[in-house]
Symmetry: C3
Subunit: 344 residues, 3 copies
Amino acid sequence: MKISLGEIATLVNGRLCGDASLIISGADILRDAKVGEITLASSAAMADELAKTSASAVVVSNEFAVEISHIVVDDPQAAFAQVVAHFRPPYHRVNIGISPHAFVSPTARIAEAVNIYPGARIEEDVQIGARTTIHAGAHIMPGCCIGEDSVVGPNVVFYERTLIGSRTIIHGGVVLGCHGFSYEQVDGKHIAGEQLGNTVIGDDVEIGANTTIDRGTYGSTTVGEGTKIDNLVMIGHNCRIGRHNIICSQVGIAGSVTTGDYVVMGGQVGIRDHLNIGDRTAMGAQSGIMHHLGDDQTVFGSPARSIREQMSMIAAMQKLPALRKQVLALQRMIAQPDKNNEAA
Amino acid sequence: MKISLGEIATLVNGRLCGDASLIISGADILRDAKVGEITLASSAAMADELAKTSASAVVVSNEFAVEISHIVVDDPQAAFAQVVAHFRPPYHRVNIGISPHAFVSPTARIAEAVNIYPGARIEEDVQIGARTTIHAGAHIMPGCCIGEDSVVGPNVVFYERTLIGSRTIIHGGVVLGCHGFSYEQVDGKHIAGEQLGNTVIGDDVEIGANTTIDRGTYGSTTVGEGTKIDNLVMIGHNCRIGRHNIICSQVGIAGSVTTGDYVVMGGQVGIRDHLNIGDRTAMGAQSGIMHHLGDDQTVFGSPARSIREQMSMIAAMQKLPALRKQVLALQRMIAQPDKNNEAA
Amino acid sequence: MKISLGEIATLVNGRLCGDASLIISGADILRDAKVGEITLASSAAMADELAKTSASAVVVSNEFAVEISHIVVDDPQAAFAQVVAHFRPPYHRVNIGISPHAFVSPTARIAEAVNIYPGARIEEDVQIGARTTIHAGAHIMPGCCIGEDSVVGPNVVFYERTLIGSRTIIHGGVVLGCHGFSYEQVDGKHIAGEQLGNTVIGDDVEIGANTTIDRGTYGSTTVGEGTKIDNLVMIGHNCRIGRHNIICSQVGIAGSVTTGDYVVMGGQVGIRDHLNIGDRTAMGAQSGIMHHLGDDQTVFGSPARSIREQMSMIAAMQKLPALRKQVLALQRMIAQPDKNNEAA
């Protein structure tokens, strides 16, 4: 796997400044690269960190001066990815077709070039589009439909009639279409509401490991095309998530929330039920959203406020102990007005 | 699947006001229903939303006036469920018995009419009650006991000796009876405590997808009958959760917490270890519970306070910037008492 | 399983004070023990609770006086564990070897005395060290390497090239090495960053159920030896978690965070991306960490502050309504200075 710096420069079609015969043994990020390795400095902001690296060479754009051997390219990220792939070649999708150890219902309709791994289970009336991969241990319940060129990770569960777009990536342990959390109390018991709906995921959506999205009560819980969802997120029943949202890890969205397009939620955000969130609105990490939000808002805190309000409130809170002392001083002054006049 | 409005009225035994020959192509909730579809308005509070619907017909109670074709029934939710089921018939449990592709220990005792799907694993000494379904990929470790008429979802894991009541629903990816999180530091290493206990789930409990409940240290972590738990909840070791609790998504309950009956926890609530929570006490979403709570409390915030205290504190905080200005003005007045007298 | 108190005293090599012929039917913790059972009081702090127990006997150290029959030992926890194990013998690891129903690539290298359960899948180039157990439904993707004496729970997923140390315990439903959550917006679409790295777990690490740890972008996301991670935790891409950390349930750590050794995070803590946390620093439950933290800090709150600052701020906030009244009173006094003088 070892390779000379000159060969790396050729590989990434870059301009070499330094010793072409230097043997490079690996590639790692600035923080972790060791002697003999090549690293990446993708922007001038990394100059300080670069000055301290142990790496023997670096891939850079032509933005800044570097002391160690370096390779200059137009797109350092793409070039470094090529270098990393040399040392650690990615495992590519192998066409295995439908494993004889998968459980596939005879009523399922499977398009061409689909991979289904051992132990996956495809139940009746399921449709799977061309070139989609279903990993081991995934359980696709009756009536589900999955588009083309998608990847369904290991141990994923799709409940009945879950619909998945094309070019989606659903990571390990995701559960879609599970029952909504909605009960009516009758004679001291919680009776579950109807569970007749499903979950519908648009094209180009990515869903992180162990995330759960419940089905609609009568209709669908939907996630719009291009939306990206991180690990361990919960999206409740009847939600209608817009297109191109970014939903970070451990966000919880209660039932019947609607979001616009390009909405961004930081980690651990919570949104209460039945709220509408406008386009391009951003919520800081751990925010608790208790009211509707219009377009282009930026909020944080719990309860969430506009970033401006929240910042001024936090500033005022920090000065609160000082304020109390000022008030006490005023009280003393007023109780002894003569002293006050003398001081004045 | 298309059906006339008259036929729908007959199906739900309702009174039709409108065109019986109208052909209906689907059923969806108010927010999502399109032209040609029938929708539901279950209460007068939905009148405004109903006025804006594109739906061609609606199922209502006799509470309020409607302009479009409608079907009046006593229980609109139940009637609409029938309509939805016409368009999207639910997949019913099929009796498949014990799949030859399931792994069932010869020492397991399986009652009548149990379904065990391919890839499920039932280890030694496990007991499963009548009419219970074990979905694909579920792993039931030695000594577990599951009651009657229960559903264990795909890829569920029960560690050793987990006990599950009757009529329970355990959704996909749930892990019960995992080791508790308890360590003692010895010579700079964290040494795990004993893990001899188990997890015990009462009758009529529902547990949402990917939730985890750890085993007790020596005894049991228990969840009382009728309690409903949402997705991605964590319940720590030795907890004793009462009956008929409602525990929303992403709640975290640390070790040895005891709750009464009919306790309600909003989403993302956290409860510290060794606390006792009284009957019927409710915690708002994202609350952080740091002290014992009696019966019939309503708290929120982190740290949590009574809803009354928390509200007055939030109100005071919002006026804090104004308060600071008032104090500054007072300081100025006192520094110039003559000016103040003139102003008076 | 019933046994006399005398026999129990012999079993744990303890000194019996009470009726040796008393028949004991079970063992449970103080809170739950019933008549006829033996319980544990491991410290004098439990004296009050012990006075109220229904248990018929108790295992104690010689620290305090007890009224009921008791067995005195040097290490009550260890002795009680023996007693519990008598009544509820743990299921021990059985050597099953490699199940014929597991899917093991011919290129995998499996050391001696490894157990692989039915339905587990071991892909190409995987290495598994001696005496390690892979439970049913675990999916180990190409290029992974697992050390010796480790346990990989049911339905665990390791993505490509995940490296796991020796003596680790990975609980059910854990997903390691999943794609990082990092996108660049191009022409209105979120384009995923490179996913060439992996996840590396040190020796003696324990990871709780359904936790997820993403792979690095180019290099590794790492967890240092001896660190213990609870259920439903999320650790983002490129993080470098130190040694002997304690990370409680539902903690979320964003990308590229570095922690020192012996760091402690309470439940539901959130840490923003690219922060450095020093050695032995502790974060209270639900804290939101927004800045770097040095060594030996103790913080809580969201945004997190030192425990001292946060406490004084919370105290000041609680007195805020009173403070507002004081300021109003001052305003009135200054508006009527004569009245004020009279009062003085």
